[in-house]
Symmetry: C2
Amino acid sequence: MSDGAQSREDFEARLRQIGAERYHDKHPFHHLLHSGGCTPDQVRAWVINRYYYQSRIPMKDAAFLSRVEDSNLRRIWRSRIEDHDGTEEGTGGIVRWLKLAEGVGLDPDYVSSARGVLPATRFAVDAYVRYVREQPLLPAVASSLTELFAPGIHKNRIAGLLEHYDFANPTTMSYFQHRLTEAPKDVAFGLAWVLDHAVEKRDQDAAAAALTFKTEVLWAQLDALHSAYVDPGRIPPGAWQPGEGLL
Amino acid sequence: MSDGAQSREDFEARLRQIGAERYHDKHPFHHLLHSGGCTPDQVRAWVINRYYYQSRIPMKDAAFLSRVEDSNLRRIWRSRIEDHDGTEEGTGGIVRWLKLAEGVGLDPDYVSSARGVLPATRFAVDAYVRYVREQPLLPAVASSLTELFAPGIHKNRIAGLLEHYDFANPTTMSYFQHRLTEAPKDVAFGLAWVLDHAVEKRDQDAAAAALTFKTEVLWAQLDALHSAYVDPGRIPPGAWQPGEGLL
C-alpha cells in the first residue's frame, strides 16, 4: 500500500459514506414523492424528467464499452444496456418507464420525445454521459456506484407509491421492481472492480471524486424539478407545463 | 427526389459498385492467402494483424450505440457486439479468432496483447473507430456496408484455406463460418437503413464516401501486411518478427 492509501475495507467505507451524505434519497422531492405529498402534475414532471436520465443511461454505458479493450469486461458491462434497451421490442427498462408514464396519464410518445425536459436536467445528464465518455475507466466505473444506494430508495419508492397513489400498480411499478435485482448484480461487479483497481491513493481519490460527481448529477436533477414544480414553482421557458403531453 | 439525387435502386447499385472496384477481396495478399501461396509466417502475420481489427470492431459498434437516441435501433445494433464478444465467457467472434491463432501455432495471449501489430494496421483501424465515433450516424452506418461484400470473400477463404493449409479445420475456420450468417443479417439491416436515410444527394454522397473510406481502411491493412511480410518484406521496427509469440 502506498503512502496515504486506504485499506480495501476503509476505502469501501469511504465510498459508502459518500452515499450516506450525498445520495438523492435525502432530497426533499423524494420525501414528498414517497410520502404521497406530490400532486399528479408533480409526479408527471418527475416522470418526464427522470425519463431523460433513463434514456441516456444505455448511451452512457455504450460510451464506456466503446473504450474498453477487454472483451470479457465489455460482455459483463453489456448486460446493463440489455437491462435498459431489452432483448426484443417492447422489453427493457425504458419501455417499463413508459408504462409508468402512461399510468400517470402521460402520452408515452410525448415523454419519449424528451420535449419539455428541464434544461437543467439535460445539462446534468449530458454531463454524466460526457464524463463517462471522456474520463479514465476507473472514474467511469466508480461513477456508477450510486447503484450501491439504489435498492433502498427503490424499495421505499415502491412501498410509498403503492400506499399513496392510485396510479401505482404492478405494471407501473415494474421498472423499480426490476431494478431491485438488476442494480445489485451490476454494483457487485462495479464495486469489486473499483476496489481492485483503486489501490493507490490517487486512484482512490479519483474514484471517490467520481462517485461524488455522480451524486451531484442526481441531486441537481431533483433541485431543478423542485424549483420548477414545487417551490418556488417557477417553470423555466420551454419546459413542460401541466396539461401538456397528456393521454 | 431532390436535384441530382439517385433513385433507391441506382443508389444501391452505386454502393455495390464501390465494392466491385475497391473491396479488399481484390488485394494481392488475399489472392496469395486463398491460393495456398502464404508461408506459415505470412499466415501468422495476417492472423496477428487482423486480430487487431477484430478486437476493435465491438468498440466501434459501442461508439455507434453511444450516440443513438433510439432504443430500438440500439437494440438491433447491439447484436453486432454480441456476435464479437459472445454471450458468455469463451464464446463470440474474438474467441473464435484466437482459436485460429492457436491453429497456426501462435500463443493466443500474445495475439490478444496486440503487441507486434503493425503501426499502419493500428492507424487504419483506429481511424475507423474514430470515424464512427465522430461522424454523423448515416456515414457511420454506411461505413459498415463492406459487409455486403464479405460473404463472398469468406466463402472463398474457407474453401481456399481448407484446400491448401494443414491448420484449416472446422475449429480454426469457425470464425469465418459464423460470419457467413452474421454479416448478411447485419448488412440487410444496415443497407435498408442507409437507403431509407440517404434520399437527398448530399446524404447519398456522404454515404458513398463513408463506404469508400471503409474500403480504404481494409485495403491499407493488407498493403501494410504485404509490404512488411511479402514484398519487399521490410518489417517495421517493433512489429512482429517470425519466431515471436509462438505456442
